[in-house]
């Protein structure tokens, strides 16, 4: 069963088209991560899914019903943790119970619902603390728990780990993953951390320039597209130039699938127009592949197999060449 079905959804801020989604749906009980750079439209999309805003064009069906109908019922089925959550004046417990109070729940039932969740997530010892005395990570945790105790069918999270240290990121990721495992609960989360996206789910939804793209946005850069000698070049911040195939010119973004980048110790003479020299700055495991991070004036990721990695004997700081075709570069 689909919980959301977005069709031809458009949202404008003034004259700027912030969101333009032809088709996107979310199944009941699924765990979805939406990855995109800044200004990709992630927050706009979540606001629409949380019924905080309405699309300027198109439809968002909620459990088969258009979103504009039964809107209050829909709001109590969905909860959203905002990117910079607001905590109401008062204590941690008052904040955690706030949504339950809105639902008219009696105080003893509120405590029965909130206490086990808070204990499990290490927040119970802070229940009397004034929220003004909490750290950034604790505040984020309170906001996530405040939404979790509502036990709504749909949980939306807008970059819940942004600007947090690694300890808090791990804790909040665990909380979210556990919530997502609960039968029937649909969790939709946005992030601009590509590693986090792939760590949590297998299939990431990529959002760029307000639209869904099927190109994984690993090597995603802002660029200025220019025509030069019959070909198009994308100039990245720092002056690095990449050959692209594009109709348009001017400001935009590019993305290159890490699987489309070939690594070699010598320049490859081939039909591929892009051959960049860089140095290895990282080697990480990503699922069944190896993510080789190369600084070539911009930070690139290239996925190779473990067998290739062993064969190439990659060493940090080593000089290496990146080769990819202009047609492998997605332009937004």
């Amino acid at each position: 069963m689909k919980v959301y079905e977005c069709n031809n959804v458009k949202k404008y801020y003034g004259e700027i088209l912030a969101l333009d989604i032809a088709s996107l749906s979310f199944d009941k009980g699924g765990f979805y991560i939406i990855y995109g750079p800044n200004a990709a439209g992630k927050t706009t999309l979540l606001n629409l899914l949380a019924f905080l805003d309405r699309p300027d064009a198109g439809t968002i069906a909620f459990q088969g019903t258009p979103g504009s109908k039964n809107i209050h019922r829909s709001i109590t089925d969905v909860t959203l943790v905002m990117q910079t959550p607001y905590l109401f004046k008062g204590t941690v417990l008052q904040n955690v119970c706030r949504g339950l109070a809105f639902r008219g729940m009696k105080k003893d039932r509120m405590l029965k619902r909130a206490q086990p969740v808070m204990e499990k997530l290490g927040l119970w010892e802070l229940y009397r603390r004034d929220v003004s005395a909490l750290s950034g990570g604790e505040r984020r945790k309170v906001a996530v728990v405040r939404s979790l105790v509502l036990d709504t069918d749909i949980l939306l999270l807008d970059e819940p780990t942004a600007h947090l240290d690694s300890i808090h990121v791990t804790v909040i990721e665990q909380i979210i993953s556990e919530a997502a495992r609960k039968a029937g609960k649909t969790v939709i989360m946005t992030t601009h951390d590509i590693h986090q996206a792939h760590r949590l789910v297998d299939d990431v939804i990529y959002l760029a320039g307000g639209g869904v793209t099927h190109t994984p946005l690993w090597n995603n850069f802002k660029a200025v597209i220019r025509a030069a000698n019959g070909v198009k070049k994308a100039e990245l911040a720092g002056g690095l130039e990449v050959y692209v195939v594009a109709e348009r010119e001017g400001d935009g973004s590019i993305a290159i699938h890490p699987k489309d980048i070939i690594l070699s110790y010598e320049p490859i003479h081939s039909s591929a127009l892009n051959c960049l020299k860089g140095r290895i700055t990282g080697v990480n495991d990503v699922n069944s592949l190896v993510d080789v991070v190369v600084d070539a004036g911009a930070i690139f990721h290239s996925f190779i197999t473990h067998a290739s990695s062993r064969k190439m004997n990659l060493v940090m700081g080593q000089e290496i060449f990146l080769t990819f075709k202009a047609s492998a570069v997605e332009v937004f």
Partner: protein, 241 residues
């Protein structure tokens, strides 16, 4: 200087001896001002909340009018309300003129725009995430508005305090609509004007001191209210734990 000290001494004697007339005038001032402030709050604050959070045509013009009405002269309000309450006025049949009710109506007209303008300003200065957060947690529109009110309660209470101060200290409305009738509509400010004009400077001074003390006490109460961990939605037991 001797005249001032002598008058001050007499004023303190009047206060300490709990002079019946003095107490009657003071109590009348307090209950009339509290009644009009309560009415102005009940009307002004909800209207201010709606004006602050909603976008509509003419909002800026309305805010300019409200801000202008903050400086409305009390005698103009007295005159306006008089035209409604006098025998030939549209509300003349109620026979409210020269009664405490007329004073309450006049003071209500005086305080409402002031409380509204200051409350609008307080709500507009609130973090815009308050209402959105409440909505994401399943709040109805009214619950979301109450949440905003709870978060900016200090500003709203300051608006009410300013409204109370305005009506408690005004003389024009009370004089024109109450008529300064002894033991009926005479309040502190009209009594001060009256007693000074007939040379009873000590009584006028005593009333002036009481006016200041009452205003001080009521401000203290309002301040204590704003410091309370008052939450219009959360259950009281959660606060006490």
């Amino acid at each position: 200087m001797d005249f001032l000290f002598e008058s001050l001494k007499e004023a303190f004697i009047l206060i300490v001896s709990l002079d019946r007339e003095l107490l009657g005038i003071s109590w009348r001032s307090v209950w009339i001002a509290l009644s009009s402030t309560t009415l102005a709050t009940l009307v002004g604050v909800p209207l201010a909340m709606v004006i602050a959070v909603r976008q509509f045509r003419g909002k800026q013009s309305l805010l300019v009018i409200l801000n202008t009405l903050m400086a409305l002269p009390t005698v103009v309000v007295g005159l306006l309300v008089y035209s409604f309450l006098c025998r030939r006025g549209v509300l003349g049949d109620l026979e409210f003129l020269y009664t405490p009710y007329a004073m309450i109506i006049g003071q209500w007209v005086l305080a409402t725009p002031l409380i509204m303008a200051l409350a609008v300003s307080a709500v507009q200065g609130a973090d815009e995430r308050i209402g959105i957060t409440a909505r994401t947690l399943g709040a109805s529109r009214i619950q979301a508005l109450l949440s905003i009110a709870g978060e900016v309660r200090t500003g709203i209470i300051a608006a009410v305090v300013a409204g109370f101060g305005r009506v408690f200290a005004e003389v024009g409305v009370s004089m024109m609509l109450g008529g300064n009738i002894k033991n009926y509509t005479r309040n502190i400010t009209t009594a001060i004007a009256f007693e000074t004009s007939r040379g009873e400077f000590a009584l006028a001074l005593a009333l002036g001191i009481i006016l200041l003390l009452c205003a001080f006490a009521i401000n203290l109460i309002f301040q204590a209210l704003s410091r309370l961990n008052w939450n219009p939605v959360a259950a009281p037991a959660l606060r006490a734990r």
